[in-house]
């Protein structure tokens, strides 16, 4: 590189241009986001009427509703939360507090979890398909979908929970031991309360990912048309992303509007969950 005064002007102009190019990259993302949200609102807002929220899906546009999909998604997420939270937080605690860090087994567990986090969601769908498809009473039920989604988000929550547990100050842990606590008492009294906000941020983000995921559910076999509301984990169900995908596959523009309305509702769920997570995280970072 030549640093002569004569080319200083040129270099300064180049500097300015690239600053705007870098800004342009993020501005493009913002423009895309605004375009996407506006497009959805224009298309779907007028379909958002009370009966849309109260009705079943139907081949007739004016009677079609989103209720079974909403309830199905809620059943799914509830089951996923009940299954994943204890398992993933438990394994995060084991990895951080109990496991021998120098052992080969620990290294293997770490590599295994980070690789699992990179497996595409559709492959989890195949696992669910292979597990449940031969059992008629489970196929296409909330249970099969929820287990599939749980396995999918398990590594994600384990990674984020470990980060939260790592952030607990050593001082507090040693003080607890000094009081004569056993390991589990220490975990209950110190680690869990201290790491809770961090853990819950990770859990919320992972659950909202599960809420919007369609491909594994399509593979495991969510019902395409539901005539009864789901009333337990062994009932058939449809979920919000599945219903949206269904509507988009019809050529009629009215169904596209229904899909847009469905997406608006899905996004309301997701964005409120995400902003809750962000607020929780900011509070947590400030208090530290």
């Amino acid at each position: 590189m030549k640093f002569e005064v004569s080319n200083l002007k040129k270099r300064k102009i180049k500097d300015k241009i690239f600053k705007w190019i870098f800004f342009g990259c993020i501005a493009f993302c913002l423009a895309f986001l605004i375009f996407l949200l506006l497009g959805l609102l224009i298309l779907g807002l007028h379909k958002l009427k009370p009966h849309f929220l109260m009705n079943f899906a139907s081949r007739k546009v004016e009677r079609a509703g989103f209720l079974p999909a909403i309830l199905g998604s809620l059943w799914l997420i509830l089951t996923v939360a009940i299954v994943t939270i204890p398992v993933s937080v438990g394994s995060a605690i084991y990895l951080e507090q109990y496991a021998n860090r120098k052992s080969k087994f620990f290294k293997f567990l770490e590599v295994n979890i980070s690789n699992l986090a990179g497996v595409p969601s559709i492959v989890y769908g195949l696992l669910g398909l292979a597990l449940f498809t031969r059992v008629n009473s489970i196929r296409g039920t909330v249970f099969s979908g929820a287990i599939t989604l749980s396995l999918m988000i398990l590594p994600v929550i384990i990674v984020s929970s470990r980060e939260a547990i790592k952030a607990v100050p050593k001082m507090l842990i040693e003080a607890a031991y000094g009081l004569g606590m056993t390991k589990w008492q220490m975990i209950k009294a110190v680690i869990l309360p201290y790491a809770a906000p961090g853990i819950f941020t990770g859990v919320i983000l992972a659950l909202s990912r599960a809420l919007g995921e369609a491909s594994p559910l399509l593979i495991v076999g969510a019902a395409s048309l539901v005539t009864k509301l789901p009333n337990g984990i062994f009932s058939r169900y449809t979920a919000m992303p599945i219903q949206i995908y269904q509507w988009t596959s019809y050529p009629n523009i009215e169904f596209q509007e229904l899909a847009a309305a469905g997406i608006i509702i899905l996004l309301v769920f997701l964005l409120s969950a995400n902003s809750a997570a962000i607020i929780l995280r900011n509070k947590y970072q400030k208090s530290k």
């Binding site: 590189m1 640093f3 300064k12 180049k14 500097d15 690239f18 600053k19 870098f22 342009g24 990259c25 993020i26 993302c29 986001l33 996407l36 959805l40 398992v87 993933s88 394994s91 605690i93 084991y94 990895l95 109990y98 567990l109 295994n112 979890i113 690789n115 699992l116 990179g118 497996v119 595409p120 969601s121 559709i122 492959v123 989890y124 769908g125 195949l126 292979a130 597990l131 498809t133 398990l154 590594p155 056993t182 390991k183 909202s208 809420l211 919007g212 995921e213 369609a214 399509l218 593979i219 076999g221 395409s224 992303p241 949206i244 995908y245 988009t248 847009a260 997406i263 995400n274 962000i278």
Partner: protein
């Protein structure tokens, strides 16, 4: 005192039980891995008999198990095209955003801009698919001729730029092997440049005959690209942030402009993290399903035109499962065969991404 002792014993027992339970929870992830590999192999193994394993990798232009066309190439090229074009959007967008956020933005602007990427990352892929099918494709259809013209001019500029720079560095380097690689790449780009310039008028006029199909690779790739941009941006930003301040200050102190500092000092110092973010983005784009299924079409025929429709590996899997494929049938097996290949492709890329960080990272 005896009661106390019993209490302690009970306490220790409880500790042991809890430890075992937690260990069991941890083992669930191991069981998941074994389950994935076992089920993929078990369900796809019957397919490989009768010489079909050779048919799978034979070159062919059609994938259709029903009519016994078992060549995976159409699906594979579909996936590769989606990856190529989506990374063409995601890599510059993600890296540019990361550089802006970590080097240029002050904390206030950062706190406004950063959530944009977080929201983009939180939007489900069904939404991206819907949007690209309903909005991006019509936009592309009506504007394709001038988009193609701009792309042509842009392509000419980029190829000549790359050619000149590569040949320049090629001449400067001393190792003979790298010299050959640089010079070979330089000549390739310059010949592309020559080809484009010689035929410029012909190509320029032909852009008005371009036609965009209702389902096409390009609009799906744009959506996939924007979708994986946050991944590239956040990982690259982490890498850029971990470069120590002293390096930047040294460079600025020597009189380099901000851009020169960023481009010649900070980015090279963070290159391991940046490249691994690119590879993870590729792996994500390979596994992306819903956008591709909704906007890129479902035609498993070999096609290299980005304005035409294709089917990717993931797209094929989703298209089959919806049609209630009978368990154990040949089509059921093919879904698992594709899944097996997909699994090992992404696994390989993820391991590569980690290796690159280990090998290239410089600790400060």
């Amino acid at each position: 005192m005896k009661i106390e002792k019993n209490k302690l014993k009970l306490l220790y027992l409880k500790e042991k039980i809890i430890k075992t339970i937690l260990l069991f929870f941890t083992l669930i992830s191991v069981i998941t891995t074994i389950g994935i590999i076992f089920s993929l192999f078990k369900e796809s193994l019957p397919f490989f008999g009768k010489g079909r394993i050779f048919a799978l990798f034979n070159f062919g232009t059609l994938w259709d198990p029903r009519s016994e066309h078992y060549s995976i190439w159409p699906l594979f090229t579909g996936t590769v095209m989606i990856v190529l074009f989506s990374c063409m959007f995601a890599i510059p967008l993600g890296l540019g955003s990361a550089i802006y956020l970590s080097e240029y933005a002050n904390p206030r602007i950062r706190s406004i801009l950063k959530p944009i990427l977080e929201i983009l990352a939180g939007i489900p892929s069904v939404v991206y698919g819907f949007f690209s099918f309903l909005y991006v494709t019509p936009l592309l259809k009506s504007n394709i001729s001038w988009i193609a013209k701009i792309a042509l001019i842009f392509g000419i500029i980029i190829t000549i730029f790359l050619a000149i720079n590569l040949i320049k560095t090629g001449i400067k380097t001393e190792k003979s092997l790298t010299k050959i690689v640089y010079l070979a790449l330089g000549t390739t780009f310059s010949s592309i440049f020559l080809y484009l310039t010689v035929n410029f008028i012909k190509f320029f006029n032909n852009t008005k005959y371009l036609e965009v199909e209702t389902y096409n690779v390009l609009s799906a790739s744009l959506a996939v690209g924007v979708m994986i941009t946050p991944l590239v941006a956040s990982l690259s930003e982490d890498a850029l942030k971990s470069v120590p301040k002293t390096l930047r200050e040294g460079s600025l102190g020597l009189g380099a402009t901000k851009f020169e500092t960023v481009w010649h000092v900070v980015v090279p110092a963070a290159i391991s993290g940046i490249i691994s973010s690119f590879i993870l983005a590729i792996s994500r784009a390979i596994g992306e399903t819903m956008v591709v299924a909704m906007a890129a079409g479902s035609k498993p025929v070999l096609n290299l035109n980005p304005l035409g429709q294709i089917q990717t590996m993931t797209g094929y899997m989703v298209s089959k499962s919806f049609g209630e494929v009978p368990v154990g049938s040949l089509e059921y097996q093919t879904v698992f065969v594709i899944g097996l290949i997909l699994f090992f492709m992404t696994l390989g890329l993820n391991i590569l991404a980690k290796k690159i960080v280990d090998v290239l990272r410089e600790v400060y």
